[in-house]
Amino acid sequence: MKTRTYLLQKIGQVVLTMFFILLFNFLLFRVLPGNPAVLLARAAGARLTKADQLQLIRDLGLDKPLIGQFFTYIGDTLRGNLGKSTIVYPGQSVTSIFSEFLRPTLILVGISTILSTIFGVLMGIHAGWRRGSRFDLSSMGFSLVLYAMPEWWLGILLLIFFAVTLGLFPTGGLVSVTQNYTGFGHFVDLLNHLFLPCLTLTLAFLGEYYLLMRSSLLDVLGEEYITLARAKGLREKLVLWRHAVRNALLPTVTLVALNFGYVLAGAITVETVYSYPGLGKLTFDALSAKDFPLLQGMFLFFSLAVIIANLIADLLYAYLDPRVREA
């Protein structure tokens, strides 16, 4: 019963947040500087006549009152119609562009999230458990450097080292442009192109997960139930894995789930460094070109991703920690 109330409450919050995001998203693009018709005119080869510009404004519905535009926007969005790209992919629907760019990003972000979580958490556990050891000190320094380093800079360094100095991996793109691989060769080609962006993102997030896992493990290790577990005569390994890690994982799980929403958008810098055609690069292109419908769609999508990731984090938390749903 209580679980259900908790669930309903969370979903209610999500719906409300969505509404405000729609409102904000709508208003944001109307207060932005730059007359859309003029921008489009420049993009379409400038020298658009006044009549053409007015027609454009009518076509885009920008001549209607703001409130009318808002309801049209809500209605269209609910029907899954996010409009059509104006400059980056002229005439193509925003949703179809998304579905094309989503996959590379999901693969990139998915793999690097898994890897950074596994390595970050394992390193965090090891360091927290052997606090003050040589491993703890060195991994701490390593993680702090990674955490503080801007992703794009790390990306450029890795690119110069792995792609140019060692000559092992390509400098960017999704596939080789000079070769037409098929079958397994194509798969390997994809992997080769995925390696550096994936390594960069993994390293960029590793530090954060490591630091969080380490500190929350240290917190937990000071709890009385750990002392009790030891007093029961449990072996150290069991104390660590069954009692300490399990509880210490809670904040990390939340962070990973939360991050996933941000990372979809946060891969922008990495995708730009490696010219990797994912959502991040699409955002970059849409921003540079001021493709308003596309941008509006992307903002909505990213907000949605963050909200859903939040919801999942909440639900996971409730599942992992009974105190949350009982409270």
């Binding site: 500087p33 730059g34 007359n35 003029v38 921008l39 420049r42 993009a43 379409a44 080869g45 400038a46 020298r47 658009l48 006549t49 006044k50 400059i87 980056v88 992919y89 002229p90 450029i156 690119l159 110069i160 792609a163 140019v164 000559g167 092992l168 991996f169 390509p170 400098t171 960017g172 793109g173 999704l174 080789s176 442009v177 000079t178 070769q179 691989y181 079958g183 397994f184 060769g185 798969f187 390997v188 080609d189 992997l191 080769n192 192109h193 390696f195 072996r235 995708e271 730009t272 460094v273 490696y274 010219s275 055609p277 690069k281 699409l282 970059f284 292109d285 540079s288 001021k290």
Partner: protein, 609 residues
Amino acid sequence: MGLMTVGRRFRVIAFLATVGVIVTGSFASGALAQTATSSPSSSVGRTFTIGVLEDLNTINPFRALSATEYEFLNLNYDLAVEFSDKDLTPTAGLVTKWEHSPDGLTWTYTIRTGATWQDGQPLTASDVAFTYDFIVKNKISAFSNYFPFTQSVTAPNDTTVVWKTSKPTMAPEFPPWVYILPEHIWGGFSRTEAKNYEHIPVVGSGPFQLIEWKKGQFWKFRYNSHYWKGTPYVHTVIFRKFDNAEAMVQALKKGEIDFADQIPADLFQTLQSQPGITANVPATTEFDQMSFNMVPNGQPAPTCKNCGDSTAHPAIQDQQLRLAIAMAIDKQALVDKVMRGYAVPGTTIVPSGFPQWHWQPPSDQIIPFDIAGANQILDQAGYMDTDGDGIRNMPDGGENLSFRFSVMPSEPQEVKAAPFIRGWLKQIGVEIKPEAISQGKLVDNWYANDYDMYMWGWGPDPDPDFILSTFTTGQCESWSDTCFSDPQYDDLYQQQRNAIDPSVRKPIIEQMQEIVYEKVPEVVLYYSGRLQAYRSDRWTGFVPQPQPNGFLLFAYGNSSYVHLRPVSGEVTSPGGGVSGLIWLGIALGVVVVIGGILLARRRSEEGRA
């Protein structure tokens, strides 16, 4: 029970490992086979890859705007009259001969025989006439300026095009920068259909044909074996789009690409000493300028019905003030510090890269860099610092000489230049407030007439007609930088348009440059060009346009693409990554490690619990 579990678990792992080895084996043989088939074949050796930062946004000739789009047109189509490699003067292309009637009202083009479209159809005079006529009839605004006073363009037979005008003009020889389209494909289109037609493979008459276009990633061309200038050596040209200039330069160093275009000055510098790479410092056919709002405060722009009333600082109307500002700018310092030496100080609105049209002010007319002189001019004009805040005031003791100054972050050199300019102007008691704004915002401010000064740039056509037109009063509505309006200038512009004798036209064009230079509606800061570099250890045969050091690619024609040759034997590209075997090794290693850990944990737990 415990032992049973261990046993079953172990069997599962053993089974997985076996499957893994089998799969690995089969993949590995596949990978080896793949390696064998993809070893450099003739097609790889004849592939030329170009790194670009600008995307290909459209393959429609009527919508093309950026240099990348024009380069696509340049490869896939031909101009009627071309720009010569040597000095960009008009030269034979599809048109082998052009002449005009004594009254200058009728021009006749003689069309080359034997040229074909890429789909095998013959290219005739009617294709040329169709293309020009389509633009004139449909008033395609981006190109109609190339067809002044035009009444008709017709093809009386397969090798003749007749172009009739109501007033004498040199326009057919400028020539129109319009690519010739196949009538058998475009013939039935309405204006709207033509503006939206995008179909691959693109049928043109050029040396290469676009066959694949992955927007934002790459686009590929196949060679045209029947090209009328000769079959290109290169069989495949690939443009690879980079989102990051640093990565593009690294890809050139590594050899993934053969050519890099539009390299930022500081990265370009690092390539100068790189073995195997030649960095081309190009002819200076482009410029960046600082423009003033020439519309008097509170008044509407002369010909722009939709523009707002000017909010320009009243002092900007004073030519002496603009002159003082121009004198206070150290153009050489901008060249050295902002452009890293890859530019030359600018003077008039026709860049020095077009020596046949550029007017170089003689020493007694040149506006020097002279802070003291600038201060003297302002003193004499009555701008004194009456309130003692270090900034001069209007002669009546009113407003400070404090101006808004916009630059665009999308043009990094502008952002770099702004603090220098502010520093120099401070020394003459003029304050500018630099503000970095988007291009959209700048265009909006421009239409609203709500600005004092801004920085932007031009890459003019080889013929000066277009860049000169931007300073006519009528252009205030569209291409004008400053809404400069000068009756004498407007009159001269029409005169040069009607002049059919180049020796008559040239002095007029020089006089027009002189007027703009003297009245200072804008300050041309420096002339520059696209910084390009290529793998000279692999490729040779580039034809710079203009010679000797013009653009190698992204120029005004396609000669480089037709003449590219490997330096010796065959060009081989480095592999794009590690082989499939290594990946399989890694995958196998991961499986073994995870399996091992699971097994060890299970054993220790089962064993000790």
